[in-house]
Symmetry: C2
């Protein structure tokens, strides 16, 4: 075709065509054509039945925004030529009254953004071509139904009208005629509706609905580009770290119709089960329907396969039984797609008059559970290698697997049942709006977001919620897709639930649940339960175990955990922790009635009083350490000396102060005064960390004695060697470290001499203040190891209190100053340079210095990749995040960390 009608604008190729097994582009042009466009081209080249069409490139989007929202010169001509080509390919003509070509116009960014971008179908219809369509399809009802859909969609997406007003007209007409479903309307009804729709548009916009097909098309193209910058698209990009400048492409494609009668259908499918990863076709379809009917959840779709139909208990036939030939073609295509793309595919297809058309293919979103199975299976099937498999898994998604599930022995009260749309169980207070979800979450509440269906406007609320419950929609509805992506448990289509937004309540199983009432959902079974329900820790699949073992083989960095309670330590070990990177001794101070002794120590007026209280605490802490050393059985344990300011241990409320005063036999006033005296303006920058050790060496003397004695006892009882690493917090001056280390060595020496034994131990320091980074070369000369405390390093480098920043960081994200909370993911440009600098300066002074990191960032994939680049020896994170860290470290070692691009 290109040869016949070359583009009139040779200077810039804005448009890439695909038709009849031949395309200008291919999968390699994803950045230019967007994911959808590249795949359409690719599928065309492979020889799949793809409706002919063309893609307007992402460069046009950039040009559009670069040129004050005007389409670039030359584009119109190229579109014109291309649409003529489509017409030729399908034997119709754009705007032709008797044989009109209809097209779909869809967005298509580099990365799939489900539900984010607007789509227009049936474009090309007007008051005259609708007659031609009626005649050619021999179905007047279909033609007017299509026209009214087009008007409705176009008016909404391109002309900016509220789509509700069209629904109102339709509802009014149905009420007037006593119709309960769209199916009851005939051609005349739709014709009437079309007239009313056109009238409405003209009244609202003061000009008639555009009748010129070319104008319709240009309007739709601009609308797609415009939708790139709607608030909801911007939010999605922010949440998924997608750069604004990527832009979207526009795909214009000949319409095929799944609603041309009973031998027509439309459906969506995954080449494997996106929920479990099982290698079975998974999907839904609707006879005599258009694609939007499936996705919107208005009608409940049918199963593709007999097997799924049987297990789902559907009464209606599957595609496999209804259209066996088409189903066989589809299966065949699925196999070829996987062989070609080497990944599970998410496809849209339409059957028009018995002929199968492939509308779209893309890597399918999947649960992490499914991702693991698919990756491992594909390695077993010889499709991909292990490193590819490792990089196929979103480390953050492993969170899903670690979610608790409903305890099977629990007595539960099921109040409704829906589709198991995203696995995991969650308990929370019912809320009915995204705003409520977000504000209650900020107030520290766990919430379940309950909606009839969700829309992109709800994404921030879904993010804030523990789980999502909808009364409508299928497994591929917006709620289901987005929740799976987020790793949130989700039940969709729980149709027995009635939601009353105005009253802020829902009824289920005859009972009313108001905003704030607690329910539990199980996204793996679809059960909605009243109240909160006992849960069980998740079991990890064989696929998980296999893939993680591959990851462990690949990664360079060690993974430790931040833990101090025996249960946390065991939990972390189960998840593969290779040591403790941060044991916060102060957490032990809170357990049981120790806090009383701790308070007595803090409130003592002199060293003697403090020592007396510390003597009581010593055997308790010794016992704690002994237990941890025994559990860790030879793995390294880094113990941080007391860090928080002393006032954090003291009571705040008068009644608690009174209790304490009585318990330690001191007057209320005296206790209050001492508490007041200890208060600080900026505790984060106050009397804490090694500063306490400098002022009250007796505290760390007790702690070090407890560590060394505990280690000796543990080594005595177990056969494994015990290797304590004692860590000094908040060092700014090497002199601080040296003074504290002297105390440590002195106490250790004394214990060794008392017990006539010796034990290896090392002493190192946190690097968590900018000054420590700058003086790392000095500190490394006397410290055995460094551990970056990136929480405090972030607070100090950015001058940002983690406890206070929540209030305004949202403004920062909204205004694009930051793309991600620097406490969640390392600020690589700033804090990152400090980590690199500290490591470099430290190792310059002491070759091979062991350097780790034990801030929150130790569990964040992007940060872990950065730490790998810095040459850190290990990361340490919360027990829950150990698997994430193991996988992220492996991906970092592969140098192809998981990104949204990967799928």
């Amino acid at each position: 075709m290109q040869k016949k009608k070359p583009s009139k604008n040779s200077q810039a190729k804005w448009v890439y065509r695909f038709a009849d097994g031949k395309a200008d582009g291919g999968a390699d042009l994803r950045n230019l054509l967007g994911g959808k466009g590249a795949n359409l081209a690719e599928m065309t080249n492979i020889g799949f039945p793809v409706p002919p069409g063309f893609t307007i490139t992402t460069e046009v989007c950039a040009a559009y925004y670069g040129n004050d929202r005007k389409l670039p010169d030359g584009l119109q001509g190229q579109i014109h030529d291309s649409i003529e080509d489509i017409g030729e390919a399908v034997g119709a003509q754009f705007g032709n009254v008797s044989n009109p070509l209809l097209v779909s116009v869809r967005s298509g960014a580099r990365v799939s953004m489900p539900g984010m971008m607007d789509t227009v179908l049936n474009l090309g219809l007007n008051n005259e071509t609708v007659l031609g369509l009626a005649k050619r399809s021999n179905d007047e009802r279909f033609a007017y139904d299509s026209y009214r859909r087009f008007i409705q969609m176009y008016s909404d997406v391109v002309l900016g009208m509220d789509h509700g007003v069209f629904e109102d007209i339709l509802d009014a007409h149905k009420n007037l005629n006593g119709f309960s479903s769209d199916m009851e309307l005939d051609a005349m009804d739709w014709k009437l509706i079309v007239d009313k729709f056109l009238e409405l548009v003209e009244v609202e916009l003061d000009e008639p609905f555009p009748q010129d097909s070319n104008m319709q098309l240009l309007g739709a193209v601009e609308a797609v580009f415009g939708s790139w910058n709607t608030a909801r698209a911007v939010t999605y990009r922010r949440l998924h770290d997608i750069p604004d400048e990527w832009g979207t492409a526009v795909n214009v494609q000949a319409m095929v119709f799944g609603n041309l009668g009973d031998n027509s259908a439309t459906g969506v499918a995954f080449t494997r089960d996106p929920s479990t990863g099982e290698n079975v076709i998974y999907g839904e379809f609707l006879v005599n329907a258009q694609g939007e009917d499936v996705v919107s959840g208005i009608r409940t779709p049918l199963s593709l396969t007999e097997k799924a139909r049987n297990s789902g208990g559907d009464t209606k036939p599957s595609l496999e039984s209804l259209m066996p030939k088409v189903f066989a073609d589809l299966s065949d295509i699925f196999n070829k797609l996987e062989a070609h793309y080497l990944d599970m595919q998410d496809v849209e297809f339409t059957i028009q008059g018995g002929k199968l058309w492939m509308l779209q293919t893309r890597s399918g979103k999947r649960t992490t559970k499914a991702a693991l199975r698919i990756a491992v299976d594909m390695v077993d099937e010889g499709l991909i290698d292990r490193e590819t498999a490792i990089c196929r898994i979103d480390p953050k998604g492993l969170d899903q697997l670690l979610h608790p599930t409903i305890d099977p022995t629990a007595k539960i009260k099921i109040i409704a049942k829906g589709l198991p749309a995203s696995p995991g169980a969650a308990t929370g207070e019912v809320v009915f709006s995204a705003e409520d979800a977000e504000s209650l979450k900020l107030a520290g509440k766990a919430v379940i977001l309950v909606r009839t269906e969700t829309s992109p406007e709800d994404i921030h609320g879904m993010h804030a919620a523990e789980g999502i419950l909808t009364s409508r929609g299928g497994m591929t509805s917006h709620a289901a897709v987005v929740a799976r992506g987020m790793g949130r448990p989700c039940i969709s289509g729980a149709s027995s639930i009635n939601i009353d937004y105005k009253a802020q309540e829902m009824t289920a199983a005859g009972k009313t649940y108001s905003r704030g009432d607690v329910i539990t959902i199980d996204g793996s079974t679809g059960n909605v339960m009243a109240g909160s329900v006992p849960m069980r820790p998740p079991e990890l699949s064989e696929y998980y175990v296999k893939l993680m073992s591959w990851a462990d083989e690949v990664r360079r960095m060690g993974v430790r955990t931040n833990a101090e309670t025996p249960s946390d330590v065991r939990h972390a070990l189960e998840h593969g922790a290779e040591g403790i990177g941060l044991c916060r001794t102060e957490h032990m101070f809170f357990s049981g009635d120790r806090i009383l002794k701790v308070n007595e120590m803090i409130l003592s007026e002199d060293e003697a009083g403090r020592r007396a209280a510390l003597d009581v605490l010593l055997p308790m802490q010794r016992g704690d350490f002994k237990e941890i050393f025994e559990i860790m059985s030879g793995l390294p344990v880094t113990i941080r000396l007391l860090d928080p300011p002393l006032h954090e241990f003291l009571p705040r409320e008068d009644k608690d102060i009174e209790k304490l005063a009585k318990a330690i036999n001191v007057s209320f006033d005296k206790v209050s005064q001492r508490i007041d005296a200890l208060k600080e303006f900026n505790p984060m920058l106050g009397h804490r960390g090694c500063r306490l050790a400098i002022s009250y060496p007796e505290i760390i003397e007790m702690q070090v004695r407890a560590i060394i004695e505990g280690a000796i006892e543990a080594a005595h009882h177990s056969k494994a060697p015990v290797m304590p690493e004692i860590m000094v917090p908040l060092v700014a001056y090497v002199e601080e470290y040296t003074l504290v280390k002297e105390v440590i060595d002195q106490v250790a020496k004394q214990v060794f001499s008392e017990q006539d034994t010796e034990l290896e131990y090392t002493v190192g320091t946190m690097i968590e203040l900018p000054r420590a980074v700058l003086r790392a070369f000095e500190i490394a000369q006397v410290a055995d190891f460094f551990s970056f405390g990136t929480n405090d390093l972030t607070q100090t480098a950015l001058g940002l209190s983690r406890d206070d920043a929540g209030k305004f960081l949202t403004h920062y994200e909204a205004k694009g100053i930051i793309s991600v909370d620097p406490f969640s993911s390392l600020d690589q440009d700033g804090v990152g340079e400090l980590v690199a600098m500290g490591t470099e300066r430290g190792r310059a002074a002491r070759a091979g210095l062991k350097v780790g990191i034990c801030g929150e960032h130790g569990g964040d994939p992007a940060s872990i990749a950065f730490f790998n680049t810095c040459g850190l020896d290990y990361v340490s994170c919360s027990p829950f995040r150990v698997p994430i860290a193991r996988l992220s470290a492996a991906q970092a070692a592969c140098e192809t960390r998981f990104t949204n691009d990967t799928l």
Copy 2:
């Protein structure tokens, strides 16, 4: 002499001799011989009458501490040889019963440490040599008096006994015999006292007082070395930044006696007046006395010159009239000393039987007022050049000149009169101990430290006090010397005051003043006044003006001020400020009843409410700026946009909240709630600086409008150009800066268009967060200037809250972790590297970028020298410190900044 008896230890020269116009060393060996030893050698070489002696070097001190407090091998032999030489030079012999050589043993560090190191006189006396001394001096009373002094001093300093117990024996003897003064005791009395002293020593120490002169000497030498590490010496070094490793030398010198009758005397003198700088001999002497009698303040000394006697109203004769020949010798020596040392000298001398002996010379401590006059005079006299003169002045001392003086028109109630020991006036609560002075100072109180006399143990209290008052002692007493050095107003010898430490009160002019009562002292007149008294700003002398004009010619860096009130701005201009480096707009928010509108703005629930309140504030701020621009008349004015967190403006007490609630017509509860909601855990790291501008752009819109409109008005009214520099605080991300700058430029543009005029202005940023330093290369691309906020940069780099650090930084200083509070003097190793890095990175992106500093450190001499090295363009400091900054910047340019070494 050396030739006759070469040292037996050729391998190490531990001892340097001086005698008869010839010395082993000289002034150039100050580091080895200490200041005193080097000067004794130098004076000997010049030919002054110096009692012969030798110096044990500072290396011996190092060897002593390096060798577990043992004197090095070979030292004893060298001492032995040297003491024989002394004996030969004076015709006596150490330990010889009939003709005993007596020596003094004195410390002498590289830097003068007055009162810090212990001294032993009359060493060599024992039960037998005392007889020889009596015979040779023909004065038995003198001999036993000397012996009892020696026992008392030696027992205190070398044997570690409490000197009070000796005083008790003496007092008991005097009471028993009805004596009121030492003069009444005759030879037999002293003999009896000596016996009792010897008995006491033997009882207390279980062994007799050492009778072997050589053992006495070695003991004294060790005691001098030991005294290098007493707590008070360590404290002094810490306060004066003197390294511990310097060590002290020991000077052993033949005794000469000022107490050998009425043609003997002892005195101290300055070659010029150390208080005014006038080129007149200044000093005191006592007939028939030893040096300690003058310094201790027990007897009130006489004037050296007739002129001083007359002006002081003394009834007793001056040295000039009493011993004209000796006085003429002394005057001649003073002239030669100044010509030799090119500086004013502080000398100690003794007249023994009419013969003058020079015991010591050193650069004399002086008031800053005197230092200025001496430096300027010496330039005029051709002794030194201007740069030397500039570097002779301790910039910190300029504080003294800027101290207020008593308003001469004020009605004052003088309750006592003492010596004008250190200039300046001060008001404060009376305290009677150094500890109280320190703790009340920490509690924010101004205090006057009142003591009978002060001792080195009181130094920390003198530091904490606004002024010092003693009831005893002369102009060269400990209190006077130390107070002058510190720049604290001081009155000494106010003998009419009676101090009762136990009752914590003093009586003066018949009235009792308790701890906490307020008094005022005038260190320039010696007047002690009741209550607080109106004061006047100081007038600066012609010498000051001249020297500062030389400084201004020499310095490279500009000096600006941190000021925002018209009076402060004028004050700073008078002191030579060349611009405003930091105008804190928020200070203006507090004036008058504006704070109400500010609170209304803060408590508004929406932007509209905030804007309404801001509209009221606009004309007020505009007026402020206009006034400042007019006062500054063309000099640059850097205005910082709102910086502190909003809660700092809100009331805290319930009654104030109630008042506010009423005033803005909102319920108490609502106001309380809003105040609570604004509270922060770490305000220093909270919602402040440009973060406010991001959240509430309307606030800075108002501020920028006020600045630009004020500037236009000022430019209109005055002829001078107006050049506002708008400064964005607390930038961490370049994106923050860019957003705020957009708002600034937009408002400016709008004002220009409204008023149809234009005005130049620049926009820059504070660099006060480590991240801003790291990203300086980015920020400099869009910022016209940088200003380092070293207060916040110190807080963040060190993770140290200025408001909370006071509590534990004292521990840090005590333990030697830091030598100086990093908020007073820049932490050059840490924060300093950030300043250098930020400057370098900023200028790499924008050549010639204007960089200043506006933290507290802008007024600290050591920090200013560092900033000069970094290439900063200017420093900005409080108005009071502008002269200090000007002088420091000049010294930095001379590259010979004032240090303790200079004097």
